[in-house]
């Protein structure tokens, strides 16, 4: 029951969208040329039936009800919408300047009207796990959102998702002081709880011995330290950003000493510590790769430069990985520095998948890195990531197979609502001279 009311609220909100998103129609059936299910299988000329925002049935030759609102994607590809497991886009200020702020949450700073969400719709991203930035030791709680909705609450899929942590020291402070601050925060939280338990035990003793007449123990654990204690009790998962390969041992040690349930978000050259990453994988720590998928690595002895793809190295080591678009790629072009700075194209998931395939990762593994694996990391395998019965209707319609150069995201359906149509995208018409009604502008 709660599900439906939430849906209606979301539906109403979608319709009255900001002017930029004039597209919002309910879809209950999709005719598709080929459907990439998500577990490697593809169906030809299939029909997808949607009821109450969930996928009701997927199959060939299904009978479409007469009053269904149909989206005809006859000759096109239909895929599950991308799932981005770790991004700090969509907020104008992603970092606090105090190192340890576990009590903050992105719910207060996500801005639905940001261009980042418009770009996510254009690139076919259906689910985003928005977390604070990389500059704080303990950044705060993230949340899983969909790129449509007027307020953060309406966009939310999971209000309280992972806790963001980062081993990236602030400018000026050293790597070691950064780790020491994280440890100190954990030690303080533990000491605070130990003190609270001691006082409670003494209160019970007093009560038993009649030394006090109060009914029960009034002190409470400090609300600011509770999130850290949840981390220690493995109630929340820590998304730990590791900037460099030499930080991987420190990350593993942190996870071991405080027995955290963690997800490692790997920075540029973490692929060099591949044996430590295999150990992490064996401890069931999921790995997420950043945007730098082509790094020019200079051989110290022969000084030859070769292009290295971390995704290929993880694939060769048999470690499943998730890909992400951290939302920073889009902002202006960045020179391809020696460490392979991100090219603006890297903000588009299809380009990251293509880069991995070019470096030898099979297409299925690359596509799953943006669909089923991030869904599993976020624990939403029953909601997003695949096209199968019971899951949310998060689908994207592509103009051609991902391997074709002409492949574009034509439509994006989230929760059964069509929220993006390429022909009615103001930004595309501005960049290609066609007016929004398809006529080309240069006749003017």
């Amino acid at each position: 029951m709660m599900r439906i009311t939430l849906l209606i609220a979301a539906n109403a909100a979608l319709v009255s969208l900001t002017p930029a998103q004039r597209v919002a129609e309910e879809i209950t059936a999709i005719k598709a040329g080929t459907v990439w299910i998500g577990n490697g299988k593809t169906l030809k000329n299939a029909v997808i039936l949607i009821k109450d925002g969930r996928i009701e049935k997927v199959g060939q030759g299904l009978e479409i009800p007469w009053n269904a609102k149909v989206l005809d994607a006859g000759k096109r590809w239909v895929m599950p919408a991308w799932v981005n497991a770790h991004t700090s886009g969509g907020m104008d200020q992603a970092n606090e300047n105090i190192q340890v702020t576990p009590y903050l949450t992105v719910l207060d700073s996500v801005d639905p009207s940001q261009a980042f969400f418009e770009a996510s719709r254009r690139y076919g991203v259906g689910t985003l796990h928005v977390v604070p930035g990389n500059a704080c030791a303990v950044g705060g709680r993230g949340m899983v959102v969909r790129p449509a909705g007027k307020t953060p609450e309406q966009m939310a899929l999971v209000l309280r998702a992972g806790m963001k942590m980062s081993l990236q020291p602030k400018r000026g402070s050293s790597r070691s002081r950064h780790i020491a601050e994280i440890m100190k925060a954990f030690e303080d939280a533990k000491a605070h709880r130990a003190e609270w338990e001691r006082k409670k035990k003494e209160f019970d003793e007093d009560k038993k011995n009649g030394a006090t007449t109060k009914k029960e123990f009034e002190d409470k654990i400090d609300k600011l330290k509770q999130p850290l204690l949840d981390l220690l009790d493995r109630k929340t998962t820590a998304y730990l950003y590791i900037p460099r390969a030499s930080d991987v041992p420190a990350a593993l040690e942190l996870v071991k000493t405080y027995r955290l349930s963690a997800v490692f978000v790997l920075g540029g050259d973490c692929y060099k510590a591949i044996d430590l990453l295999t150990a992490a994988h064996r401890q069931a720590i999921p790995l997420i790769l950043g945007e730098t998928l082509e790094i020019t690595d200079k051989d110290p002895v022969t000084e030859e430069e070769k292009i290295v793809c971390p995704a290929r190295i993880l694939y060769d080591a048999g470690i499943p990985f998730a890909l992400t678009a951290t939302g920073s790629g889009g902002r202006g072009s960045r020179g391809r520095g020696a460490s392979g700075g991100t090219h603006p194209a890297m903000a588009m998931p299809w380009w990251q998948v293509a880069t991995c395939v070019r470096h030898g990762v099979p297409e299925r593994a690359a596509l799953e890195a943006f669909t089923t694996i991030p869904a599993r990391i976020l624990g939403l395998t029953k909601r997003v990531g695949q096209i199968s019965e019971g899951l949310d209707a998060n689908l994207q319609v592509l103009s051609a197979a991902p391997m074709e150069p002409e492949c574009q995201v034509e439509n994006l359906v989230v929760d059964g609502i069509l929220i993006y149509d390429r022909k009615r995208d103001p930004r595309v018409s501005e960049l290609t001279g066609q007016t929004t009604t398809g006529a080309s502008k240069e006749q003017k």
Binding site: S174, A191, N209, S246
Partner: protein, 550 residues
């Protein structure tokens, strides 16, 4: 646990696991771990005939032993013994996984021993007259495996090294360096321990056990500071060491308070168990001590003399204005006191309170536990002598200040790095039992009068004065040239055995973990000469034989 060590004296008798035996620290006598450098004792016995043939027979039966014979054999001086270069024809050098076992005289007549009994490996290079066998060399201050933007390793080098860096293989194969010590270093203050890294052409680089020397960075006083202020450089270290001592004292005090608290707690509960509180009553918390706030400023003087004494501190121009204000306040205070006295009821002097209330003990206050502080823990390990204190100092005044501090705090083992003007403070260094790591890379700063070819002459003079010396390359590729730079000290008068000792055992001692196996290396010539290259490497039981220089 180690914080429970009582006072340093007790430390002498408790067997400290990780370091060699700690001799009682008498400033004049050299602590046992540092070899008697410079003053070569007359070799009592005939060279080569150190152990008799029975020991040799026992070793031959031991599979883990490797016996090496070459043109010349070098035995480093450990635990105070002097290093010796021995003619290889007449003796064998025995080596086991833990380190060099010793020199054994080759028996004149061949030993009758059954072939199958001989399980030890025998390597005979004595056919090459100028071949040379000795322990692997060690670079006392290397920058290998340091991340490119390391900036600072103050939590200690162990967690921060990029152990997968390549390019060090020719270091091992060409110049026989089998171990490097990567120091921590960072902003002013205590930094974590450095790391000894074992280099093996096959198995790659591995970091060795619990790191030893922890590094202290003195303030970088402006170069314009004069000799007078330079002594103050050690002020921050002194404060830190004293802080560590107080930390230990506070910890012990907390233990005692905690026991007292538990006792008080027990009888507090017992008392209320006998006569529990009635509803609504509460135990009065112990009366809080009046805080100091508000007592100093704005005090109103009670008598004329107090007023005059206070006015002395007031600048003369304002004195009469302040005197008028104060007198007005004194008068108002006096009137108020009189009014209160009149109003307050006379205190009844009766003692009729029920005895159990008077006897009722107040709720005991839990003693505040001192916060856990990692830096102070590190400094305590330095005070106990478990880790070596490693300080970079170049000027004579700084070096003298550091040695004075070491004597004052009875630090058994300190290492000075760089020490460009150490030759001026040679006897202070010898008294403090310090080891000096000479880094040829660091150019002398202005304001220092250095000798011609500064680092070689400096090393030779220190060795002559009995101060143990080690060499550090402070770089990556330059590590391969370390033995050449040590050779330059030989040209300045340092005996060759001392130079080799500086490249092997002293460098390991400077790393703070004295029990380290740097393996055995057989060179084609004396490692100090540039024509030397590595013929054979032995580490543990594994022998790597190299054909010429690949």
């Amino acid at each position: 646990m180690n914080r429970l060590l009582l006072n340093p004296l007790l430390a002498l008798f408790l067997p400290i696991a990780s370091t060699a035996a700690q001799g009682a620290f008498k400033p004049d006598k050299l602590p046992e771990t540092w070899p008697e450098a410079g003053k070569t004792k007359k070799a009592a016995k005939k060279p080569g005939a150190t152990k008799d043939t029975a020991a040799l027979r026992k070793l031959l039966g031991d599979a883990s032993v490797t016996l090496v014979r070459a043109g010349k054999l070098f035995l480093p001086g450990k635990l105070g013994k002097t290093p010796r270069i021995v003619d290889g024809k007449k003796s064998w050098l025995a080596y086991r996984a833990g380190g060099v076992v010793g020199l054994f005289a080759a028996p004149d007549q061949p030993l009758e021993i059954a072939a199958n009994e001989v399980k030890a490996k025998m390597l005979d290079f004595s056919d090459k007259p100028d071949s040379f066998a000795g322990p692997g060399l060690c670079d006392a201050d290397s920058r290998w495996f340091v991340a490119s933007d390391a900036g600072d390793l103050s939590v200690g080098a162990k967690g921060q090294l990029e152990i997968w860096q390549e390019g060090w293989k020719d270091l091992v194969l060409k110049s026989g360096i089998t171990t490097v010590f990567v120091p921590a270093g960072g902003a002013v203050g205590t930094s974590g321990p450095g790391v000894l890294v074992k280099l093996d052409p096959e198995k790659g680089a591995t970091q060795l056990g619990r790191p030893g020397a922890s590094y202290y960075q003195l303030e970088r006083l402006a170069t314009r500071s004069t000799n007078l202020t330079r002594g103050a450089v050690v002020k921050s270290l002194r404060k830190a060491l004293e802080g560590a001592k107080n930390y230990k004292k506070a910890d012990e005090k907390w233990k005692k308070d905690f026991e007292a608290y538990q006792k008080k707690r027990k009888d507090f509960l017992a008392h209320y168990k006998k006569n529990p509180l009635k509803a609504g009553e509460e135990v009065k918390a112990a009366p809080a001590r009046p805080t100091r706030r508000g007592r100093g400023r704005g005090r109103i003087p009670r008598t004329k003399e107090e007023l005059e004494k206070m006015l002395e501190r007031v600048p003369p121009a304002m004195r009469d204005r302040i005197r008028k204000q104060m007198e007005a306040r004194m008068k108002a205070a006096a009137d108020k006191a009189k009014a209160d006295a009149a109003k307050a009821p006379k205190k009844t002097g009766d003692k009729a309170k029920p005895d159990d209330k008077k006897k009722a003990p107040p709720r005991p206050k839990y003693p505040k536990k001192p916060k856990h502080d990692r830096t102070k823990e590190a400094l305590l390990r330095i005070l106990d002598g478990k880790t070596v204190l490693r300080i970079e100092a170049h000027r004579a005044a700084e070096i003298k200040a550091v040695t004075k501090l070491a004597l004052e705090f009875k630090l058994p083992r300190i290492v000075l790095v760089g020490a460009t003007e150490a030759f001026k403070a040679a006897d202070e260094l010898r008294k403090a039992g310090a080891l000096v790591v000479i880094t040829p890379q660091t150019l002398p700063r202005q304001g220092m009068d250095t000798l011609e070819e500064h680092f070689a002459a400096n090393a030779a003079k220190l060795a002559a004065a009995g101060v143990p010396v080690a060499f550090g390359s402070r770089g990556k590729e330059q590590g391969a040239m370390l033995s050449l730079y040590a050779a330059r000290s030989v040209a300045h008068g340092m005996p060759e055995a001392q130079a080799l000792q500086a490249l092997t055992q002293n460098a390991i001692d400077a790393a703070g973990t004295s029990k380290v196996d740097t393996g055995m290396v057989v060179f084609s010539a004396n490692p100090l000469s540039p024509t030397a290259h590595v013929l054979c490497l032995i580490r543990g039981s594994q022998v790597v034989r190299l054909q010429g220089d690949k």
